[in-house]
Symmetry: C2
Subunit: 337 residues, 2 copies
């Protein structure tokens, strides 16, 4: 049957299929858990929750919890509930974000807040957060609870930081990084850390997985921020220009503003600070970004964090799961083109 | 120095001073904990949190956690963090409620959402919820965590139930009770149950304290709902008529609607369902309620739950703390007149 191709290590491939395949049986259990824990006699709750949950997010965060638990040789059942809890925490954040950003779209469909109102989005988010903690408590690991409850506080802190920085074109790269570390990377880090923690692995392994998750999360958000100004955004169910219209200061803006002329800075102030956005301004924004290589350099920064994520896993021996986690880093970055 | 008055048990007095006095030293530590855990480098967080936290709520819920821990003979430190966590959960609920109800006032001052925006109220609420779990995890009691995380989910469920029942004048007393059990009584119950739980007391004592809290919570909410149509509401920093203007269906409305004439039902439908509220309608609503003794009977129902709360504590031997908890029930009911 064909030729035997000698195995050659070509380095990581931009492919999430390895991860998806390896966690598939566990992921089925997570999905069943998610479905059962959104159940409520209050019919609006499963309606709103499932609108978002079944709208085809990749479920990257729970997959990471499952994967790092396997990587750490964990053999119990606890990772299923922790993974479902992580996805609930993420979904709650999305519901609340939509209210905060007044978004009309989410994952390529109408946002829950538009369909059921801000009230339902706030309250169903709270319900999911409560259910997340309930599941996580059931697992019985105080250390995992510590990690995930801290993450919940830090994420909210990051969202408030972002709110305070909104429309402020003076935001610098460090400030921006502090925001995305808190609002995005922290949950990736926590999702990855709890795997080895419930596997009762040495501290160094838990720290390594956390570092992998944090850096992957930063890279992921950087790519997301670049995608908001074009690229393959549409294919990913995203609205190009959302961040621009909401006056969100992301790295492409930070870099363009710093590298720009006085005239360009006036443009950013008018559009993002004053919210005075006219026909053609989005195209103009993208043109300015291209002129200063702001999108390319945002992806370049993402590659830097991706490299740190990969190196964090160096202390684990080779295994199909390790390979899948390395490929996932490439996949997250390659979404950009 | 004067005459010795023979001690005579006159039954419980409507007085919260006993409770306040007995928990005062612990409460000072709770207040210090609350202050330190609202701290964040993100300045908007302590600003928003303290606006509400220092606006002079009674802190009844954390006092109950402290009191039941003492009642159960608990001698550790954990009740301080649990009590602070309970107050954070409550504050988070208030912040989110204001967004859901679009309230302009809270505790006699401008609501946080008016001053800092809905976004800040949603996110600072999330932050406080995260910090609450963080503190509660630090105490290290999985059973207490189970109780409090379940409460978080049930409270949100109750809020969604209330949202779904809003403006529906057909709501009956059972449905109304299910809502206030979830949105109000559950946290009172959980606040009281965790005391004996961390005191490692027998199940029956934890169940007794939970029952005390649940029934006290129901009575408390019933009185609150009656106060919204008058009484001493103003002295308590409440806006008379808020529920009416928001189309909230509370027991005084449920009773008036059921007992009313066709003409009166049309009045409730116009004002609460259709939100068509005209000059003089609030006075009219109160007049209809008085005609049907709806406010008096709401307080009568509160007395019933108050009696159940008192009886729940029967299995504890006499003590100053038990006496203070019994007096607290009377106090909550007597707020009505």
């Amino acid at each position: 049957m064909g030729v035997v191709v000698p195995f050659e290590d070509k380095g990581p491939r931009a492919d999430i299929e390895g991860l998806v395949g390896l966690v598939a049986p566990d992921m089925q259990r997570v999905n069943a858990m998610i479905l059962s824990r959104t159940g409520s006699e209050v019919t609006m709750i499963p309606e709103v929750a499932n609108h978002l949950i079944s709208s085809g997010g990749k479920r990257l965060r729970p997959m990471l919890t499952l994967a790092t638990a396997v990587l750490a040789g964990y053999e119990g059942d606890g990772h299923i509930k922790l993974a479902a809890g992580v996805e609930f925490m993420h979904t709650a954040t999305l519901l609340h974000d939509d209210v905060v950003d007044e978004s009309d779209m989410r994952r390529g469909q109408v946002a829950a807040r538009v369909k059921w109102g801000n009230e339902a989005s706030v309250l169903v988010g709270d319900f999911l957060l409560g259910q997340a903690f309930r599941m996580m408590v059931e697992v019985g690991s105080l250390r995992a609870l510590e990690i995930l409850s801290s993450a919940a506080a830090v994420i909210a802190e990051g969202e408030v930081m972002q709110l305070a920085a909104a429309k402020n074109t003076e935001t610098n790269e460090d400030e921006y990084l502090a925001i995305i570390r808190a609002k995005t990377a922290e949950l990736f880090g926590a999702a990855c850390e709890v795997g080895p923690v419930i596997g009762k692995r040495p501290k160094a392994e838990a720290a390594a997985c956390r570092s992998y998750g944090m850096n992957l999360g930063i890279a992921f958000q950087l790519v997301d921020d670049a995608l908001d100004y074009g690229g393959k955004a549409k294919a990913l169910g995203k609205n190009v220009g959302d961040d621009f219209r909401e006056g969100k200061i992301t790295l492409p803006v930070v870099l363009s503003f710093r590298r720009g002329s006085d005239e360009e800075r006036a443009f950013w102030r008018r559009t993002l600070e004053q919210g005075d956005i006219r026909e053609g301004d989005l195209d103009q924004a993208v043109a300015v970004m291209r002129r200063h290589r702001a999108l390319e350099d945002t992806i370049e920064r993402a590659r830097h964090y991706g490299a740190m994520a990969r190196d964090a896993l160096a202390l684990f021996p080779e295994s199909p799961m390790k390979r899948a986690l390395l490929d996932t880093v490439e996949f997250c970055i390659a979404r950009a083109h």
